[in-house]
C-alpha cells in the first residue's frame, strides 16, 4: 500500500519489544498514510496496545525505528511523542479523576509556571475545539462525575489541545454504548477531514469495516497482514486474526431442557456509589440448556454473575435456587452458593479465578477449600489435593501436567482449563461462566466449548456471558440481551443473527421476538 502517493504519517520499521519472558512485539513494520483512518486488529494479547504505547513513547522499543511525517524520530518518552504531534486515547483512561476537565486538559501543557494565565487560554481553546469537532463537555466538571463517553471525549480533547496530528485510539468502543460509539465515529470522520491521521485499535470487525481506510492485523506479537478495507471482508480478517479458518459453529444437538433449576425475579443491584447496576432482571434457567447473555461489556453482565454467585448481595429481587429463596434480607455469600452447587467461572481469571502465586494444586481448590474432600480435622489434606489435581490435569489435558507449577506460569489457555476444570468437576447444578475463551487460543477454544456442551448434555444448566457474539450464537440454546443493567430481549438461538442481536444490544430493536419489552 506504500505505492500510493499520499505521504506517510507514521512508518514503523522492525519494532520489537519484550517484557521479561513475553515477546509482546516482534519485528513490526507499519505504514500509515496521512489523513486516513487506519485500523489495527488482533486478538487479546496480540500486542496492539504495546505497539501503540511504543509509538506514544510510553514504552521504549527494544529495537526498531519510527518515522513520523517522513522524519526519523526518537520517541523515548510521551513528551517526545507529543512534540511529534501524536496524541493517544488509552484503553484505560489516563485521567486524574478528581480534577476538573480543564485541569486534566492542561496537565502537561499549562502554558507557564503559574496556572492563572494558562487557565484562561485553555478555556478559550477548548471552546474552539468543542465547536469545531462537536466535542462538548463542561470544562469545570469533575472528571469522575462524568459518564464514560464524556471522559473519553476529554481524552480526545487532551490530545487535540496539544495539537495532535496523529490520534491513536486504543479500543475506544469497548466501554461505549452503541450511540456513543456512533458519535465517536462521526468525530473521527470529521477529524480525518481536517487532516488528522487516526490509528484505531479494536478487535471488533464491524467497526473496522465501517470506519477505516486501511487495516493491519496482528497475531502473537507480529504484524501478519495489511489490507485496504474496501478490498477485504470480515471472514478474511477473522481468519488472519486467529491464524486459521474459523469455525464459528460448535457441534451440538438441540437442547433437551428437563425443568426449572433457577429463577431470577426482578434482580436489582445498587453499587456503593449509588448507581443502579442491575435493573429488575428476571429470567429462568432450565436443566440441560445453555442460556447466553449478550451485550456490550459493562451493561450489567458482570454484576449479574456476581449476584448469582453470591459475590455481591442483591439490593432487591429474589433468586430461587436449590429450594432456597435468596433475597436482600436473606443473602448467601459465595461459599454458601457453592454449597448449593452453583459453580462460577469468572470473567477475569487473573483478577478473580486464580491466585497466580499459588501452585496449581492449591489454585485448584479455590472456593472449595473448606470442603471435607480436602481437609482433615485440622490440616489440609495435601495428598488428596495433589492426587485430585493430577487426575484433573490428565483429564483436561493441562500442559504441563505439573501440580506444583505456579499458576502464573501456565499459558492463558491452560490457566483457563484449570479454572473450568475446578468448577465443572464439582458437579454443579448451575454453571455460571463468563468470557470462557477470552485470551485463549483457538485450539483451546474448541476444547472448552466442547466441554461446556458436554456439561449441558449431562443435564446441567449453564449461564454463559460473553462479549463475543459469535461465541454466544455458537453455544447458546437461548439468548438474553442486556443493556444498561436490564434484560432488553430474549430469543431462541435459532432465531438469532448478528444484526438482530446487535440492534438489541443497542436497545434499538423493535421486532416481535423481544419478550421483555421495557425499552427506553
Amino acid at each position: 500500500m506504500n505505492d500510493n502517493k499520499t505521504p506517510l504519517a507514521i512508518e514503523l520499521r522492525d519494532i520489537s519489544k519484550r517484557f521479561g519472558a513475553v515477546q509482546a512485539n516482534k519485528d513490526i513494520c507499519l505504514q500509515v498514510p496521512t489523513g486516513t483512518i487506519h485500523g489495527i486488529i488482533g486478538e487479546n494479547g496480540a500486542g496492539k496496545s504495546t505497539l501503540m504505547s511504543i509509538i506514544y513513547g510510553f514504552y521504549e522499543a527494544d529495537t526498531g525505528e519510527i518515522e513520523i511525517g517522513g522524519k526519523k524520530t526518537h520517541i523515548r518518552t510521551s513528551e517526545d511523542a507529543i512534540q511529534a504531534g501524536i496524541g493517544m486515547v488509552h484503553q484505560h483512561f489516563m485521567l486524574v479523576e478528581n480534577f476538573t476537565v480543564l485541569e486534566n486538559v492542561m496537565l502537561g501543557a499549562e502554558g507557564g509556571a503559574l496556572l492563572r494565565q494558562g487557565k484562561d487560554d485553555a478555556r478559550l481553546e477548548l471552546k474552539r475545539l468543542a465547536s469545531e469537532y462537536s466535542l462538548d463537555v463542561d470544562v469545570d466538571a469533575i472528571v469522575e462525575e462524568l459518564p464514560v463517553g464524556l471522559q473519553q471525549r476529554v481524552e480526545i480533547l487532551k490530545a487535540l489541545y496539544r495539537g495532535a496530528k496523529i490520534l491513536i485510539l486504543d479500543e475506544p468502543t469497548g466501554v461505549l454504548t452503541p450511540q456513543e460509539a456512533d458519535h465517536l465515529f462521526v468525530i473521527l470522520k470529521s477529524l480525518k477531514e481536517q487532516g488528522v491521521t487516526v490509528l484505531l485499535i479494536t478487535h471488533k470487525l464491524r467497526e473496522i469495516m465501517a470506519s477505516t481506510d486501511n487495516v493491519s492485523v496482528m497475531r502473537q506479537g507480529q504484524m501478519v497482514a495489511h489490507r485496504e478495507t474496501k478490498n477485504t471482508d470480515k471472514e478474511e480478517l477473522a481468519e488472519l486474526m486467529v491464524g486459521k479458518k474459523v469455525r464459528l459453529k460448535v457441534d451440538k444437538d438441540d437442547a433437551k431442557p428437563t425443568g426449572l433449576v433457577l429463577s431470577a425475579k426482578k434482580l436489582s443491584l445498587v453499587d456503593s456509589q449509588g448507581v443502579k447496576r442491575l435493573k429488575d432482571v428476571s429470567f429462568e434457567l432450565n436443566a440441560g440448556e445453555i442460556v447466553g447473555i449478550a451485550g456490550v461489556s459493562g451493561n450489567g453482565q458482570s454484576e449479574l454473575l456476581n449476584v448469582l454467585s453470591g459475590i455481591s448481595s442483591l439490593s432487591s429481587g429474589e433468586i430461587q435456587f436449590a429450594g432456597e429463596t435468596i433475597t436482600a434480607a436473606n443473602p448467601k455469600n459465595a461459599s454458601q452458593m457453592r454449597d448449593l452447587k452453583m459453580a462460577h467461572v469468572p470473567e477475569d481469571r487473573h483478577k478473580m479465578g486464580l491466585v497466580t502465586g499459588f501452585e496449581a494444586y492449591e489454585a485448584a481448590i479455590l472456593g472449595y477449600h473448606n470442603s471435607s474432600a480436602y481437609n482433615g480435622s485440622i490440616l489440609l489434606n495435601r495428598k488428596a489435593m495433589l492426587s485430585e489435581c493430577e487426575e484433573r490435569m490428565a483429564k483436561w489435558d493441562v500442559r504441563p501436567p505439573n501440580p506444583h507449577l505456579k499458576t502464573a506460569n501456565f499459558s492463558g489457555g491452560n490457566q483457563q482449563k484449570i479454572v473450568i476444570a475446578r468448577e465443572v468437576e464439582q458437579n454443579p447444578e448451575v454453571l455460571l461462566i463468563g468470557q470462557p475463551t477470552r485470551g485463549v487460543d483457538i485450539g483451546a477454544i474448541e476444547n472448552i466449548h466442547e466441554e461446556i456442551v458436554k456439561l449441558r448434555d449431562s443435564g446441567k444448566a449453564i449461564l454463559l456471558v460473553s462479549v463475543e457474539l459469535d461465541e454466544i450464537m455458537a453455544l447458546s440454546d437461548r439468548i438474553l440481551v442486556m443493556f444498561d443493567g436490564a434484560v432488553v430481549g430474549e430469543l431462541p438461538a435459532s432465531d438469532a443473527d448478528e444484526r438482530t442481536l446487535g440492534l438489541m444490544m443497542a436497545n434499538a430493536y423493535n421486532g416481535p421476538l423481544s419478550k421483555t419489552g421495557d425499552k427506553a
Binding site: F19, G20, Y56, G57, F58, Y59, T77, S78, E79, D80, A81, I82, Q83, M88, H90, H92, M94, L95, V96, E97, N98, F99, E103, N104, M106, L107, G108, A109, E110, G112, A113, L114, L115, R116, G118, K158
Partner: protein, 322 residues
C-alpha cells in the same frame, strides 16, 4: 485567665513549629504519591546535622544548611528506594527512621564524646528570639498588647518561617504548574506520564522539598527550640506530624490547624504534669498526650469526617512488569 491562655498559645506556637514544617514536608511527599513515615528520621537527622554543624562552625545558619542537606540525603534514599526501585514506602520509612536513630547517637558519640549529644550551643550557633517592632511599646495596651508582645513577638525566625510556609505551600500546590502536576501524580501517575511529564523527576522534586522542610524542622529542634542535639530528640514528632497531615486531610490550611491543635494539647499536657485542678483533681497527662493519636484514629475510622488521601499514594509506579 486570659494571660494564661495567651501563654499557652505562645507555647503552642513554639511546639507546633516543627510539626507544621514536618507536616508540610509530608504533604509534598504524599501529594506526590510517596508515603513518608520517615518524617521522624529526617527530623532527627536534620536536628543532629544542624547541631553538629552549628557546634563546629559556630553558626546556626550553617547548621541549618547542613540540616537540610542531611535531610535531603535521607529523602533521596527514600526516593531511590520508592521511586527508582519501586520499594515499599512503609518499609523504606521504617528503615530510615531506624538507621537515623542509631547513626545520630553513634556519630555523636564519636565526634563529640558526650554520650551522643552535641555540645551546648550558644550565641550565633543558635536561632534566638526576635522581638517584633514596637513589641515593648504596645505591651501595655490591653488585649492587643499582650497578644502582640507575648504571642506574636518574641519567637525565633524559624517559627515565623514555618507559619509563612503554610500560605506558600497553598500557593505552590494550587496555583502553580508544579502544584498541578504534583497533585496529579499523587492521584494518577499514568496520567502524568502520558501527558509527557516524568513521574520520577516530579516525585524526586517532591521528596527533596520534603527533605528541605524536615531539615528545617530538625534545625528548629536542636538550634532554636533547644540548644543542642540530644538522643531521640524528635520524640515522635514525625509521627504526630503524619497524624496532623492525615487529620488535615492533606490540605495546607487544615493541616496547619491540626498542627496547632496537637501543639496546643502538648503545651497543655506539659503544664498539667502532677497538677491538681480544683474540683476535678489530677488529670493524667497521658490522657492529653494520646489525644492526637486517638483523634487521628477516630478520623481514619470515619467517625469524624473522612480521610481520603491521594489515590496513588504508597503504590509504586510500575510501567512495565518485567
Amino acid at each position: 485567665m486570659f494571660e494564661t491562655l495567651i501563654l499557652i498559645l505562645d507555647a503552642t506556637m513554639r511546639v507546633s513549629t516543627p510539626l507544621i514544617l514536618a507536616a508540610l514536608a509530608g504533604l509534598f511527599s504524599e501529594r506526590s504519591g510517596i508515603v513518608d513515615i520517615g518524617l521522624e528520621g529526617k527530623i532527627l537527622g536534620g536536628a543532629f546535622a544542624a547541631a553538629a554543624a552549628a557546634a563546629v562552625f559556630g553558626s546556626a545558619w550553617i547548621g541549618l544548611i547542613f540540616a537540610m542537606l542531611a535531610s535531603i540525603g535521607l529523602a533521596l534514599i527514600h526516593g531511590f528506594a520508592c521511586i527508582t526501585h519501586r520499594g515499599d514506602h512503609i518499609v523504606s520509612g521504617v528503615a530510615i527512621n531506624t538507621i537515623v536513630a542509631g547513626l545520630t547517637v553513634t556519630l555523636g558519640l564519636d565526634w563529640f564524646g558526650m554520650g551522643g549529644q552535641t555540645p551546648t550551643l550558644a550565641g550565633d550557633a543558635r536561632f534566638l528570639s526576635l522581638t517584633l517592632p514596637f513589641a515593648d511599646a504596645v505591651a501595655d495596651v490591653p488585649v492587643i498588647g499582650l497578644i502582640y508582645s507575648e504571642l506574636l513577638s518574641g519567637h525565633n525566625v524559624l517559627v515565623y518561617l514555618a507559619f509563612a510556609c503554610v500560605p506558600l505551600t497553598y500557593w505552590v500546590i494550587y496555583k502553580t504548574r508544579f502544584g498541578l502536576r504534583l497533585r496529579a501524580v499523587g492521584e494518577n501517575p499514568h496520567a502524568v506520564d502520558t501527558a509527557g511529564i516524568s513521574v520520577a523527576f516530579l516525585r524526586y522534586r517532591a521528596v527533596i522539598i520534603c527533605g528541605i522542610l524536615c531539615g528545617l524542622a530538625g534545625a528548629y529542634l536542636s538550634t532554636a527550640h533547644n540548644a543542642g542535639f540530644l538522643k531521640d530528640m524528635s520524640a515522635g514528632k514525625g509521627y504526630i506530624a503524619l497524624a496532623a497531615l492525615i487529620f488535615g486531610k492533606w490540605r495546607p490550611v487544615p493541616v496547619l490547624f491540626a498542627c496547632l491543635l496537637f501543639g496546643f494539647l502538648d503545651a497543655v499536657a506539659v503544664r498539667m504534669q502532677g497538677v491538681s485542678l480544683p474540683g476535678i483533681g489530677e488529670i493524667p497527662v497521658q490522657a492529653i498526650e494520646v489525644l492526637p493519636y486517638v483523634l487521628t484514629v477516630l478520623l481514619l475510622a470515619g467517625f469524624i469526617g473522612k480521610a481520603i488521601g491521594p489515590k496513588a499514594v504508597g503504590r509504586p509506579y510500575v510501567k512495565e512488569r518485567a
